[in-house]
């Protein structure tokens, strides 16, 4: 049941009504509705792993309980590490074992590449990277005393299984989400209305732009070996647009959906295309993942390596970005992607603290030339590095980069989707105008008259209806 499908809309409407009808019986009843709906949602997507997910949540819950019990420190530590190992072990087993096995086999055979017949291939539980990180975050937060362990297993299971975020996040910190879940919720018209607006904007990004760009991206990447440099550049920029619109679209739908239940989730994107530095980009891109990595990888490592000065910072940055890269999947392209991002960071780290000073967005309607040139520079750098996320393997990525560096870069591209580019221009303009708000359709404080606002909503609604492309376009991040 895709977020962009009609069955999901019907499902959501049904759950929404029941959720608020049972509100008179308190948060527990509401959460049971959400839990049942989430189990149905996940079960319909992948029934095979529902049991695994519940078992994993049970272990995490037990670890949390143990941390709040009268058990001795040593016992708590042992159970904590068992919980961490179980979660990471599950993730490694499903996501990385095949990759490592393949690497070992190839090493033994002395071949860098070759047939992969007989290699280990596992079906990947949907959303495994997202729910594993949520559970790891919970165990760490409880262990560090940042929150009390959750006392109700059903509430905890609702947090883990919660259908708006189970497939692709945001990776919501338990200490933020669980207290809201357990507290009584009353209907907030403003929050729910904003949720609908957010869903609409998410649909525009996903259905109107990402899905329509997808066909062109597929063609260009498929023909990467023969395409001209300029066509490859169009492909790279288009893919960067596709992945942003796809994932930010998904995130907006997820957050908007959750707002309908009175449970706002953390923002996952904050107009990353307008970042003027790579550090700024990563503060605005997939925020829930980068926050998690910052809290649980970068900060502890920096602390550990604090005596090594800048070298320590460099090691911490490299390790964090390698983790970000590998989080996306088990392939060399992701490893190189992480490495590349850390290299982008090195000049910043050497210059001074990786702070936010350089990331001061201009307040004016139109930015100055230096600001625009910095934005374009970061945009281009990131678009080129994201080729690694789209390439099927490292040789394809190398072929792509080689083609980009050819003289044909200065020829006319053979593929140029004018309609998609025009739509994208409108999308970017809307994001720019609304860049200081949570999303482009946040209009609560707007000076626009109601009729104009409703006109915009209706126009966007019809854009989604008329420009949705035929075919089943899954969200890109579901594969991670």
């Amino acid at each position: 049941m895709e977020f962009t499908s009609i069955p999901f809309a019907v499902f959501l409407f049904g759950v929404f009504i029941i959720h608020w009808v049972v509100a008179r019986w308190g948060a527990w009843a509401q959460n049971m509705v959400l839990l049942a709906a989430s189990a149905v949602f996940y079960g319909l997507a992948d029934l095979r792993f529902l049991g695994l997910l519940v078992a994993s949540a049970a272990i995490t819950f037990a670890v949390g309980q143990a941390q709040g019990s009268t058990l001795g420190d040593r016992g708590k530590a042992v159970l904590y590490w068992i919980g961490i190992a179980a979660s990471l072990g599950m993730l490694c087993y499903f996501k990385y074992l095949g990759f490592f096995y393949e690497g070992v086999v190839r090493l033994l055979h002395g071949t860098g590449s070759g047939p992969t017949e007989g290699m280990l291939h596992f079906a990947l539980p949907l959303g495994i990277s997202f729910f594993t990180f949520s559970m790891l975050g919970y165990m760490i937060a409880v262990r560090n005393g940042q929150m009390e362990p959750c006392r109700d297993p059903l509430h905890f299971l609702t947090y883990v299984l919660y259908f708006p975020k189970i497939m692709a996040g945001p990776i919501e910190p338990a200490q933020r989400f669980l207290p809201r879940l357990t507290a009584g919720r009353t209907f907030d018209t403003a929050l729910a209305t904003d949720g609908l607006r957010r869903i609409l904007w998410g649909l525009v990004a996903k259905v109107v732009i990402a899905d329509n760009a997808s066909g062109f991206v597929d063609i260009i990447f498929r023909d990467a070996a023969t395409a001209s440099g300029s066509t490859l550049l169009v492909g790279a920029l288009l893919y960067f647009a596709q992945i942003y619109c796809d994932f930010s679209g998904y995130s907006n739908i997820a957050i908007g959906t959750s707002q309908l239940f009175g449970l706002p989730l953390m923002t996952n994107f904050a107009t990353p295309w307008f970042a003027t530095s790579t550090s700024g980009f990563w503060r605005r891109w997939h925020i829930s993942l980068t926050t998690w990595m910052m809290d649980h990888v970068f900060t502890p490592l920096s602390f550990l390596l604090r005596e090594k000065g800048k070298w320590g910072t460099l090691i911490a940055i490299s390790t964090t970005f390698m983790a970000v890269g590998i989080w996306h999947g088990a392939a060399w392209t992701f490893v190189v992607f992480g490495l590349l991002q850390s290299i982008f960071f090195i000049p910043l780290a050497l210059k001074g603290p990786v702070g936010r000073a350089s990331e001061e967005a201009e307040r004016g309607w139109w930015p100055g030339v230096p600001h625009v040139s910095r934005m374009l520079g970061v945009f281009l750098l990131m678009a080129l590095s994201f080729i690694l996320l789209r390439a099927e393997d490292l040789p394809q990525a190398i072929t792509y980069y080689r083609g980009l560096c050819s003289l044909s870069l200065f020829s006319l591209p053979s593929v140029f989707p004018t309609t998609v580019v025009l739509l994208l221009a409108g999308f970017v303009l809307a994001e720019w105008l609304q860049r200081h708000r949570a999303h482009a359709l946040e209009m609560e404080q707007s000076r626009l008259p109601v009729a104009a606002r409703w006109g915009i909503y209706a126009l966007l609604f019809y854009l989604v209806v008329l420009l949705s492309s035929s075919g089943n376009y899954q969200f890109i991040y579901f594969q991670y």
Binding site: S5, I6, P7, W20, F187, T189, A192, T193, L196, W454, Y457, A458, F461, Y462, V465, L466, L467, S468, S470, G471, N472
Partner: protein, 313 residues
């Protein structure tokens, strides 16, 4: 919450009002089509005794008017260039839903690619989109594109989104797409490079392993539908500057399981070896199509068709 639901309902009303022009468009779009064949079928106004199905080989190589002249039975062409057997099966279903069931169906097969997925042959969604006013077409379009049929009934814009542009820019037939009154799409000239084309008299192999399950299933549904409606099915192998592929002919008959007869062009007729009767290597021009249609017509007179046309009340 009531206020919220009221706002949502009001927005729904706004959407419904904006949808009214699209609802009007649904019923205007079929009239903008230059190819009226499918509409004729859907309106149940096709009353032909012999119906020709196929892709471009059916459309270019067979002239139903000639068949009528020779057999004395009304004939009509429902072959679409670039149409896969899935499209033809869909068309046949619509024909059989009508009150005028044909007695003979000629399926002009693509030798040897009829059951092999090719990028140039597909379900002709472009011909179906403007006719979504017809529920059976809309259902087929929804099934094939993964759209929600229920939503397409609620929102007309969703239903016509792929063809609404035809309202102000109706498609015009080019010289390849002109549909004759008998439903054929013959071409009077020769393509470039045909001066050097020669007949290839070698035997060709056929690899059933390459067959697409989807296309094979559609073909078998086509055969079964004919059998169930007591329609005589003839698999026609039209000339194409090559000798028919014997394994392919045998395979098509094998899959038809006795419910079809086969007709292959007269390979001893030297005219089929001359490039001047061809538009390109795979298609006859109208002169060649005339020769072949006469030959086919004479063959049809030798067949004993089902006793009477079944008329569904």
């Amino acid at each position: 919450m009531r206020r919220f639901l009221q706002r949502v309902a009001l927005f729904g009303v706004l959407i419904a009002v904006i949808d009214l022009p699209f609802r009007w468009a649904i019923y205007q779009l079929p009239g903008k089509e230059y190819d009226v064949r499918l509409r004729r079928v859907l309106n149940d106004s096709l009353d032909a005794d012999i119906v020709v199905f196929g892709s471009s080989r059916g459309a270019r190589n067979v002239i139903p008017e000639r068949l009528t002249a020779i057999t004395g039975r009304s004939a009509y062409g429902l072959a679409y260039p670039g149409a896969s057997i899935e499209w033809q099966e869909f068309l046949l279903r619509q024909v059989l839903l009508g009150t005028h069931t044909p007695r003979t169906v000629l399926l002009v097969v693509d030798d040897p690619a009829e059951l092999i997925a090719m990028p140039t042959v597909d379900f002709r969604l472009d011909r179906a989109y403007p006719l979504v006013a017809y529920p059976e077409v809309n259902a087929e379009v929804c099934a094939r594109t993964g759209r929600s049929e229920a939503f397409s009934r609620i929102l007309a814009a969703y239903r016509v989104k792929d063809s609404v542009g035809n309202l102000w820019s109706p498609p015009k037939p080019d010289r390849y797409d002109t549909v004759n009154a008998d439903g054929s799409m013959t071409i009077a000239w020769r393509a470039e490079g045909m001066d050097t084309a020669h007949f290839q008299d070698k035997h060709r192999a056929y690899d059933a392993e390459r067959e697409s399950v989807t296309l094979r299933d559609a073909y078998q549904r086509f055969v079964t539908a004919c059998a169930q409606h007591h329609v005589q099915l003839v698999l026609v192998h039209a000339p194409d500057l090559r000798r028919p592929s014997e394994p392919f002919v045998a395979r098509m008959l094998e899959l038809a399981a006795g419910h079809a007869t086969e007709y292959r062009y007269d390979t001893t007729d030297r005219r089929y070896r001359e490039a001047r009767y061809y538009f390109d290597r795979l298609h006859l021009n109208s002169e060649g199509a005339g020769i072949f249609s006469e030959e086919l017509g004479h063959y049809l007179t030798t067949l004993s068709p089902p006793a009477s046309r079944r008329r569904v009340p």
